[in-house]
């Protein structure tokens, strides 16, 4: 039995890069509030699928890139992503067994935590008028979980990412 060796990390990197680009693509102003948390979703998927490789460190790094790309306070998304990755790593065995819609519900909770953290930090450092619309990304992220999950799982299986 050969020892475990991680393979095809570029698939993970590529999907994360694609997610980052999706969170930067310009969309109409009315839709910006509802933009799903692409990077967070892809990170959660890889934390569930490859918890021995993708975890708090990767999430933190992606968060930092996200901060630099969107011009937010450095460390803001890093903190939120790292915390959600930690929760996911602790629950991945359970979440894996859920049906797709049960999974989507746990995604709702996870993205809600991430959004709240980001909103708290933004609220502490800037003046932002509260709108209920700020909770929209949580909903859209939940709705997008099933397709993202299926696509990434397909990718992982056909390319045998480990």
């Amino acid at each position: 039995m050969s020892p475990f060796r991680p393979r095809r990390g570029w698939v993970v990197a590529f999907s994360l890069l694609a997610a980052l680009m999706l969170s930067l693509v310009p969309i109409p102003t009315w839709a910006t509030l509802a933009r799903p948390e692409w990077v967070m979703l892809v990170l959660i998927y890889w934390c569930l699928a490859l918890p021995h490789r993708i975890g708090i460190g990767t999430a933190w790094g992606m968060g930092l890139l996200m901060d630099a790309a969107t011009g937010t306070l450095l460390g803001q998304h890093a903190l939120a992503f790292a915390l959600v990755a930690y929760i996911t790593l602790n629950l991945y065995m359970r979440i894996r067994l859920f049906t797709l819609w049960q999974q989507a519900l746990s995604i709702l909770a996870l993205v809600f935590i991430e959004q709240m953290l980001v909103l708290w930090i933004t609220g502490m450092t800037h003046q932002i008028p509260w709108r209920w619309g700020y909770l929209l990304p949580t909903l859209t992220s939940m709705l997008l979980w099933p397709p993202i999950y299926l696509v990434l799982r397909n990718l992982r299986r056909t390319l045998r990412v480990t």
Binding site: G57, T70, G71, T72, L74, A78, A82, N90, H126, Q127
Partner: protein, 306 residues
């Protein structure tokens, strides 16, 4: 997550992270907190931010690329008649502007003469530089844009950003090849302005909505009307004076309140521009001692009060 056939190579360690997950989280959380504190309180992380921006610039550029290409295609395939029409329009516009420029020249000469008589120093002409916006969405909670000019092109934090119709915002972060500008519609942005008609000085504050600005500190009995043009007053030294900022769209007097409720809309075409102008010279650049914009409070409001 059911595996069809598990080869030994695919076998993963049973436990994800071992006993150190919590410790790792703690370390990374502390690191993030330290970063945020330094970034927010002291602006010590500009070099880190610059390095990261440089790293992320290819991503932003490639996001922008399809839009650039489609604009280019639309340009190269636009019809002959369309081009002719556009050409004619531009020609007539340039004629009108040329005439106005002549008038302006003579006025400027006259102005200089009068200033000499008054023995006050003449204003230096403003240098501008054209920059292009990148079609990249930033933080949805804030009104910011990213432009394709950076410190290599002489951009420094605090430079005003304008378009042909008025003031758009100011630069807040600079990296070597790109920079981020805060728009005047951001809730944390304030511009010292005066009413062009009568010189009444006040502040214009962003609301976070792209076509609305607030003017919160005007007493109910002050002379300000719907349709008034607000121009930068130049107080505070960050923005050059007499650039149009906004037009008043509604004035409400509530006798129970100290201040009138006044709404204005920016004259700059915030959502429609691709090319913008950076005003390079000016008092803001001559005084590097002025602090950079502190996120969290209204930058201009600190310097001057209405």
């Amino acid at each position: 997550m059911v595996k069809a056939a598990i080869t030994p190579e695919q076998m993963k360690p049973l436990f994800a992270r071992g006993p150190y997950t919590t410790l790792r989280l703690l370390v990374f959380v502390l690191l993030a907190l330290a970063l945020m504190t330094f970034d927010h309180r002291q602006h010590r992380l500009d070099s880190v931010r610059q390095a990261l921006s440089l790293l992320i610039y290819p991503v932003q550029y490639s996001v922008d690329l399809p839009f650039r290409v489609s604009a280019w295609i639309a340009d190269s395939f636009s019809s002959h008649t369309h081009l002719l029409r556009e050409n004619a329009e531009l020609r007539s516009e340039s004629l009108v502007q040329g005439a106005q420029l002549h008038k302006l020249n003579s006025l400027e000469n006259e102005n200089a003469r009068l200033r000499e008589l008054l023995q006050s120093s003449a204003k230096v002409g403003k240098q501008t530089r054209v920059a292009e916006l990148l079609a990249v969405d930033l933080d949805p909670f804030r009104r910011e844009v990213i432009i394709n000019k950076g410190s290599v092109h002489g951009v420094v934090p605090g430079l005003p950003l304008i378009d042909a119709h008025g003031l758009m915002g100011q630069i807040i972060h600079v990296s070597p090849v790109s920079s981020i500008a805060l728009l005047i519609t951001d809730p944390s942005h304030a511009v010292p302005v005066q009413v062009e008609r009568n010189g009444l000085r006040t502040l214009v504050i962003g609301t976070g909505i792209s076509d609305r600005l607030d003017i919160p500190y005007v007493p109910t009995d002050a002379d300000i009307q719907v349709g008034d043009l607000l121009v930068t007053s130049g107080l505070g030294g960050r923005f050059p004076p007499d650039y149009p900022v906004a037009k008043v769209v509604s004035v409400e007097h509530d006798p129970g309140l100290t201040f009138a409720m006044i709404r204005a809309e920016p004259t700059a075409r915030m959502e429609h521009n691709r090319e913008v102008l950076l005003v390079l010279s000016g008092p803001a650049q001559a005084e590097p001692a002025q602090p950079a914009v502190l996120p969290g409070d209204t930058p201009a409001a600190k310097v001057t009060s209405p």
